[in-house]
Amino acid sequence: VDPQAALKQLATKVYSKGPSGEAPAPASSVTLTAAELAKVKAMNATAAIVLHYGGNDWSNAQVDGLKAQFAKLGIKVIAVTDANFKPEKQVSDIETVLARKPSIIVSIPTDPVATAAAYRKAAKAGVKLVFMDNVPSGLKAGTDYVSVVSADNYGNGVASAHLLAQQLGSKGNIGVIFHAADFFVTKQRYDAFKATIAKYPNIKIVAEQGIGGPDFAGDAEKVASAMLTRNPNLNAIWAVWDVPAEGVMSAARTAGRKDLIIATMDLGKNVALEMAKQGGMVRGLGAQRPYDAGVTEANLAAYGLLGKKAPPYVALNALPVTRTTLATAWKQVYNQTLPADIQSVLK
Amino acid sequence: MTAQTTDHSSLPPPGPLAVELRGINKAFSGVRVLEGVDFSLRAGEVHALMGGNGAGKSTLMKILQGVYQPDAGEVIVGGQAVTLGSPSVAEAHGVAMIFQEFSLIPTLTAAQNIFLNREPRGALGTIDDREAVRRARAIFSDMGVQIDPTRTVAELSTGEWQLTEIAKALSKDARVLIMDEPTAALSATEVSTLFRLVSGLKARGIAIVYITHRMDEVFEVGDRVTVMRDGRAVLSGETRSLRIEDVIEHIVGRRMEGALEYVRRDVNRAGAPLLDVQNLQAEGLSSVTLQVHPGEVVGLAGLMGSGRTELAEALFGVRRVTGGQITLDDQPVVNRSPEAAIRHGFALVPEDRRVQGLVLDHTVYENLLLPQLGRFQGGGVMRDGPGREYARELIGQLRIKTDGPDKQTRLLSGGNQQKIVLAKWLGNDPRVLILDEPTAGVDIGSKAEIIGLIRTLADAGKGVLLISSEFQELLAVSDRVLLMQGGRITGELLREQIAQEEDLHHALQGGAVHDHTA
């Protein structure tokens, strides 16, 4: 396989399929006319954002995009909740938020089964639901919820695999650190990575271990340290998202293995900084586009209010990031220019 | 075994043996505590068990109560050899005990404690606390004491919990009742009620073991006496055939003459007082005024709840003072905390050694040094060498019976624990010593030494305020006695004005004092 070509393909191709196997619609297809915009504005609608977890760059960017677009639509955001990865807390959050009778809930379900009843209750109450990434089981697009906007997590896993292969020259020994929980997003990435890397016959996974959190950086550090101890000839480590990757960075530093190649997903600030360094360990990552996703979700919510027919599944394609594309990627992910400290390192 | 044989011919026929202990041996981590002790108890008798601190009295009785198992020997209850594997087994055999150490549940009420594990039941088999309160109230009123059975034990004063322990044992309908120093925290009134109750129990054929260090009590209620020393029974006989001096000699191991008699000392009361308290106000106190002169021992006499402890606490900065003035050596002092009081030259031996006096889980050494950590440090660093040396000195001086300074304080006998509370303050060189029941549970030999010690301290110009419910002791050392009642000073007697203990009783009952010296 030629990683170069494969990565190029990613720019147009979306791997993930919708919850009922729907083909993905591009985000660019979701637009509102001026008349529709005015109509939505006149509704004085309200929205609640019910997150699975709020403490990372991805959530922040997503919320930024949502808030910015909701502001344009004249929709007031009345609550942002954070379930801290706990489904039961999320169920409570939904129930609580419903007391304020929002017109819209934008949410990412922590657990598709456990939260389904709560979302169904919201749908019954007439709330327009727009999901991120994942849909509660049993809910139907068009009737129960408006649409789901997903990053191409599978595609990101593919991207990270090709990027890693590219950096390794298609051969070497690697370690894999995955999320030891049946969590939709992280599982997709992991499956994609494994499937893709298997196409490189000279890349061998010599160590593989899951981490459970909540201290993902610390857990990853311990695992990475152990991997480096057991396999002194390890060339690269793949980490399932940026926070564990930071732990890998720390482990590599203490082991004196600054030549270790790290590939991961999500463009967090710390990994971006490492990537910006000349010879930094983080050589490639697959990024999502949370800001754009947020904007798209807000627009889809407006579809819901208007009763306009929405595509059931919208996906934003994966964004492979390397040192050379860092600045532009940052803009795409966060809708902001690259922070000064990273810029200064990049030079 | 040096048990004396006494002439039984003049005695009424002895009742059946309720309990017999034969050849009991017990050691704790290799240290022999009991050696071949024989002890017998008849139905309907009060058997006084005596001996120095650490002689093994409590340990022997705990074997009878099933708390400890003997290493050797036999326990015979009601004619049957029994194995008392736990307190509940002993209870099933009709044995109940008033423990010397705190054995109530502090978070439960007095009534709940009294009926613990034997709660009165309601209709549905649920426990009926109201009934328990009713019965507890009846028991208390039987005992002639006023304790609210709905108060939690943690809120009770030392004397009150002692009475609660007694009430608990009384409510059990035991055939054998062990009382381990039941009067250590009681004053005269409660003691006489207790004796009344004991007579009643005796008449009902209940066998009673009565442990005490107060000589007068033995001869008042005891039918028989057994004296222990160093883990052996060294004397046993009918009370009426024994002389007090003999008993003391067997306890202490030497003859002691006049140890508890007053030695007249000259106190100059003309000069400025060392401690001058004017109109002191605090919760439980109303306008207390008193003086202590240098070299003077002032006794505080009062009944339970009269406010003596409150006064001590107010002076020492434990209890918030709401008015009045304390002057020490013409300098006004304000003691907002014990820390300040100590800085100003006060020392307090508190009433309750378990709660206020000791960190029971710490070693003897650690407890002895606690009030003077500052003295044994240089630049913040503890100098354990001199500290240990000092602790050994104190252990020797007060004859504290312990395997060494590193023994856990909890494992010492009650009287020896009390000595530590006293010893803590000796190194501090205080100006004013406040002693609240300093000899509670201390054996007669040590008591004499402590009294001697108090005199020595006073001779060195210190002022001593002595609270004691034992009038014999109070009169042995006080140069002046203040009477307290209801939180105020109600009278003052020079030592010369008091001829005998009855005068003090009388005075406290509100009567005038007969001036024998006139």
Binding site: A79, T96, A99, P112 | V67, P87, N117, A154
Partner: protein, 319 residues
Amino acid sequence: MTTLPNAAAPRRSILANWRSYVVYVGFALVFLFFSIFLRDAGFLSSNNLLNIVRQTATISVMAVAMTFVIASGEIDLSIGSVAGLSSVVAALAIPHVGPVGGAVAGLLAGAAIGVINGSLVTGLGIPSFLVTLGMLGIANGVAQWITATAPVPILNDAFNNFFGSGDLGPVPSLFLWTLIALGVGHFLLRRTSFGRSVLAVGGNATAARYSGINVARTKLMVLVASGTVAGLAGMLYAGRLNSGRFQWGQGDELSVIAAVILGGTPLFGGAGTVFGAVLGALMIGLINNGLILMGLEYSQQLIIRGVIIILAVALARRK
């Protein structure tokens, strides 16, 4: 776990008072605050108030059992994990043995862990903190292992409604479970000799033994009860979330202990109030609910929740 003499007379009585009303006053203050500030945000709607009860039901139920554990002078850190494991056991069992069998299996799993905890604590004398901390990991690991960390859906509506999702007329079943736990717990602690023994053992184990109470058996029973009730909490989670998963209940131990302490049970044993514990749980739920309704950011919610907890206790103390 030995406690030590310390009956500082004046502090004692403050503590006694403190215990008796802080949670009531605190609860009232917090409730009043939100009632005024969130008048228009639906805070006082009966549905929202029932939500609070629903959301705190698992914590409330476990807090009732934890009151006994803490009152007896021990601690149980494993409850959250046990709830998760029990939910998984029930979910796996239901397709084979039906809803009743599944519930029994889940409860038995909890009880079995309680027996292990209790035996290790009383038999070997290992501090309950360590035993139950170890068990926290074991139960959690087993739950993850037997499900490969995947959720196990429960399709049986009877089970789901009975335990967590249903209503009895206008009353959510979770409300009833809370009431049952409260009633049974309160009765046991106040009106039975078992409850009395628990308090005695926690207040002074030696004295309790001298009074003929079997200290070891009492502690064992308390820990078994705690495990079983954690199993029940697992059923409630499973019913509410229509599935069993290792995550249910994770981290609850701290919330549960907090509810108990907030309710006025001292951390060192010898006293306890089941009523206070449930009110403590409700108060935490109340605060969470109110802060979300206020539309605060999560970070601000965290800060203000912390401040309110401290403030409520401090203010109540002042009165």
